[in-house]
């Protein structure tokens, strides 16, 4: 206990270094910028900025990725409130009440409530990050090769099912990702597999290139196919920096409820910020003493949605960091970043790499403060940025994708690989396959392969070793639950949308 407290304290000291503070502020501002631009997602931002973190200390790099993640989730609310266009799907519910407040000339109040609610939601979610992560990591310490195999299967089933409209298409995407992960040198036999004569593929397909291609380059094609329209002019407003005591008193129960909702949904792999924002909004309406305000501009509605979607951020990092199971695309990309920095999700993060992990946690806490400050004082600037035309974004994103993928190994072939993944990502999105499942397959592939092949090696080829421990059975049951959870989640989300439509 004392040791953990010491690590937490040391984490804050490291996180408060000038370099980390600068990284925090810059990445949060960048995240808000990405979030407030309709059409750009948090996953895209994290993927695009991944190469920039290579030259950094792993803790700083992770803080940058965390800053972009939190900033982007919050940033979506700015365009949702001011131009009635959610920057990210996670702010869809915010647009309902936020824009009504703007129409009533209360844009400043809506933005200010969104800032404080996002801050509280994000900050409170850090509590569970601090307390649940080490507990889950302890469980992961008991995992051996067979368990790691099932864990990778569980990760795939959950993401394949949850974020796809069709479970079978999600599974297909996951297996495709696994198949792509076999490209390169066979880890046990030392023979070349599916390398097409390219020595660049010796170590397999570079995950960062694949991430940039699937999430960022594909977005360019999505933006380029539609008619480019001018965005609505943002409403003029004079920012309100504080909330009255009465408003705080009124919002606190809503924020607390939404924090719990967001946090639990964040921990559950597959739920995510989009469902959380609608649930938070719905519960805010259900418990409100001012139900008549809903639909015509309610600050509780804005707070309910924003606190819930930001509370997802800390919660979703728990299964990602401890078990290596990212629940949604943005945490899948974050996990890719973690692995690229040479860190494997699991118990080692809380033993060997504990100082780095706790620095990241502390950075994640401080990012919430940066988000509040930048959100309050920079709203006017972000309001203008949110109107940036897609015709400027398209070439700018291409340039950043190219330089980002080139910077990994200073290799032009990787730029081509990124472009190919961009085309794949575009087709995947058009035909309802699942880019996040492909990425996860790519990331979890080597873990699963090593787990399976080592297990079979240890048992002289007897597959019964994969069913030999209670933990294996627990993971098998979770895999089955993972396959069926989308049906439940889908119905749940549909009901939420129907209620709010």
């Amino acid at each position: 206990m004392l040791e953990t407290l010491g690590l937490m304290g040391a984490g804050f000291i490291h996180a408060l270094s000038p370099m980390n503070l600068l990284a925090m502020v810059a990445s949060t501002a960048l995240g808000i910028t990405i979030g407030c631009l309709p059409g750009l997602s948090a996953a895209m931002g994290v993927a695009l900025l991944l190469p920039v973190t290579f030259g950094m200390d792993p803790a700083t790099g992770l803080i940058v990725l965390g800053g972009i993640y939190c900033g982007a989730i919050f940033g979506g609310s700015i365009s949702a409130i001011l131009i009635h266009t959610p920057g990210t799907p996670a702010s869809a519910a915010t647009a309902i009440e936020g824009y009504q407040l703007t129409l009533k000339g209360q844009a400043a109040k809506a933005l200010s409530v969104a800032c404080y609610a996002s801050f509280c939601g994000g900050l409170l979610s850090c509590i569970s990050l601090y307390f649940f992560s080490p507990l889950l990591a302890e469980l992961a310490m008991q995992f051996k090769s067979p368990e790691y195999f099932w864990l990778s299967i569980f990760g795939l089933t959950i993401i394949a099912g949850v974020s796809s409209r069709s479970i079978l298409k999600g599974l297909m995407s996951g297996i495709l990702g696994l198949l792509i992960s076999t490209i390169g040198m066979d880890p046990m036999e030392g023979v070349e597999r599916f390398m097409f004569g390219q020595s660049t593929l010796y170590n397999g397909v570079n995950t960062t290139c694949a991430l940039i291609g699937l999430f960022s380059m594909s977005q360019v094609f999505i933006l380029a196919e539609k008619k480019i329209i001018e965005r609505a002019k943002a409403a003029k407003f004079k920012m309100q920096y504080g909330l009255s005591r009465q408003e705080i008193k009124r919002l606190m129960p809503t924020i607390t409820r939404s924090w719990l909702i967001g946090n639990i949904l964040g921990i559950l792999p597959g739920a995510g910020a989009t469902i959380a924002c609608f649930m938070g909004y719905n519960e805010a309406r259900r418990f409100s003493k001012h139900k008549e305000e809903f639909g015509t501009g309610s600050i509780e509605g804005v707070a309910g949605s924003e606190a819930a979607n930001n509370a997802v951020t800390g919660g979703s990092l728990i299964p990602t960091l401890t078990l290596g199971i990212p629940g949604e695309s943005v945490t899948a990309v974050l996990m890719g970043g973690l692995i690229i920095h040479g860190l494997q999700p699991g118990p080692e993060l809380f033993s060997t790499y504990a100082p780095m992990t706790y620095t990241f946690f502390a950075g994640f806490v401080l990012v919430q403060f940066a988000m509040l400050g930048i959100g309050l004082w920079g709203s006017k600037v972000f309001a203008q940025i949110s109107r940036l035309s897609d015709s400027i974004l398209i070439p700018s994103i291409v340039v950043l994708c190219v330089v980002g993928s080139y910077a990994i190994h200073n290799n032009f072939v990787e730029v081509i690989i990124m472009f190919i993944f961009g085309v794949i990502g575009y087709l995947v999105r058009k035909f309802d396959l699942n880019a996040a499942a492909i990425v996860l397959g790519l990331i979890l592939g080597p873990i699963g392969e090593n787990g399976l092949r080592r297990s079979l090696y240890l048992s002289d080829g007897d597959p019964m070793i994969l069913f030999s421990t209670p933990l294996c059975w627990m993971l098998i049951i979770l895999c089955v639950v993972g396959i069926f959870s989308p049906i439940i989640m889908g119905r749940f989300e549909k009901r939420m949308l129907d209620k709010n439509s």
Partner: protein, 149 residues
């Protein structure tokens, strides 16, 4: 059943069979894991095909989801941007990063009808950002191209 199902199922079969042929060239011990994955892919794909056919059998309707997916598709704009990107990658190989980036950004933005002032600002901002982050901070030697290398 959706119209795109035919294409998706065919492409997945083609990928699976392509990997299968390549796997058969590997030594025996290295074949097992890819074969497990290929079998799983072909199995799930077949399940999807059966599900699609069953859905067609029950309502005798093929939903035109391709038309829906490409409802807002503007071919000239899309192909124009794609051509600019491919041209950019080819040009970078020859002319290096900065020159090709400037040409690409100006060309692509003119193609997308961006105002000249906005083009100038965007090119300067992106070039400065790349120079500061990748050249100065990360020390990435950006491609100089065949002519300037």
């Amino acid at each position: 059943m959706k119209k795109s199902d035919f294409g998706v199922v065919s492409v997945i079969y083609a990928i699976g069979l392509g990997f299968l042929f390549m796997t058969l060239d590997l030594p025996d011990a290295a074949q097992t894991y890819p074969l497990v994955l290929i079998s799983a892919l072909l199995f799930v794909n077949t399940l999807y095909l059966i599900k699609s056919l069953a859905s067609y059998r029950s309502n005798h309707q093929v939903e035109d989801d391709v038309a829906h997916a490409f409802k807002e598709f503007i071919p000239m704009q899309f192909l124009g941007v794609a051509a600019w990107i491919i041209g950019y990658l080819a040009l970078m190989y020859v002319a290096g990063y900065y020159l090709s980036t400037a040409i690409f950004m100006v060309g692509a933005m003119l193609f997308l009808r961006v105002k000249p002032l906005h083009i100038a600002i965007s090119v300067i901002v992106i070039a400065a950002m790349v120079a500061a982050v990748f050249s100065a901070f990360l020390h990435v030697p950006l491609p100089t191209g065949m002519f300037f290398g």
